[in-house]
Symmetry: C2
């Protein structure tokens, strides 16, 4: 497949391919942050990325496929977990990372746009869920290690604890509109740790997330 380089000089096709993808995904993120999903257009993305339209249409084909690739790339690129040796410090670092991301001038609108798109497009929703799955998998070991250190009860579900850190921050961003500041992040981490210590996130006897009934 013919691929235009986004940089001068001759480079190996692999290098070009990677740089073209990076340029296109960067442009797609910029476009989403500026105009939302409804305003996303492959031709506009190609112009912003200074990449040939045919390359973008051939490789991604649809805006949905482009957004899915952007989300997969965001999952790959997202920052590794913090390991301080203290669960509260680890989760506070995670909460502050989420809070900074959601309030970032580019990332905030980008996440809002992708989440809005996911609410009416199943493929985008799947890609979004893969993104959060990757983030939860990245941070879960902080909880597993805390159980090992005796900071949390045996049988604590690490995924539930990691979700509990992000949930209050997304709720403020998407639903209630309450301030999304650093103290909200610290409170989210503190509440997750307190609830986990009290055994609120113990794995269920039955298969995960099967209703327990009343």
């Amino acid at each position: 497949m013919a691929v235009e380089s986004t940089e001068p000089g001759t480079v190996r096709p692999g290098g070009r391919t990677a740089r073209v993808r990076a340029a296109v995904l960067r442009a797609a993120g910029d476009a989403l942050a500026e105009h939302g999903f409804a305003g996303l257009d492959l031709g506009d993305v190609a112009r912003r990325a200074e990449v040939g339209r045919t390359t973008v249409y051939r490789r991604w084909g649809t805006v949905t496929a482009l957004v899915a690739d952007l989300l997969d790339d965001m999952a790959e690129q997202s920052q590794p977990r913090t390991e301080t040796g203290s669960l509260l410090e680890d989760l506070r670092a995670n909460a502050r990372l989420v809070q900074r991301t959601l309030t970032d001038a580019r990332q905030g609108p980008l996440f809002r746009a992708v989440i809005a798109a996911a609410s009416c497009d199943p493929d985008t929703a799947e890609a979004l869920h893969r993104f959060y799955r990757a983030r939860i998998t990245e941070w879960a070991p902080c909880v597993t290690q805390a159980v090992g250190r005796g900071e949390l009860p045996e049988g604590t579900d690490p995924d539930e604890v990691v979700r509990a850190v992000s949930a209050p921050l997304y709720y403020r961003l998407l639903a209630s509109g309450d301030p999304l500041d650093e103290s909200a992040a610290d409170r989210a981490a503190g509440a997750a740790v307190a609830a986990a210590r009290a055994g609120a996130y113990l794995r269920r006897a039955g298969p995960s997330d099967r209703p327990e009934g009343a």
Copy 2:
């Protein structure tokens, strides 16, 4: 203003006005649930409500104003809080109400549509925030009463506890896509109570939600 009745027979204008509003808001909710915000059209809503187009255009004017009125009506119509005398039981009832609403065949898509619309429209966002403000105000007394009964520490912020019950459920619906079942609702209530008991939601010394710093 001429107002068509949605029911046969002669009624007082006030009665007609109220019934027309109810019919139009019902139709707007149905249309949002079926086609999302982008597919919302005042003419279509008038047809669904069997109300004259001029009435809808004159009274609401824009889809944004119609959605804002729908959200204000949803806040007025929303169910009163449960009072069992136990904080855990009260908040579990709240969590299950939220979970049933978000997974309801009509209400679920309706909330997703309105939340998506709020992410790109400030007036819709304001109306959405008023809705959650009303819900938090309705349920906060459960927490205040629990503090009075000595179930929670003095200085617990009731709004934070109520938000903590809903947040994990909205996070599953909008972000992570994890199952949104009754056990998720019970876990959300249990975690909120455990964290509140541990003092994770104490009011801050400074003005609410001002950053505390590290």
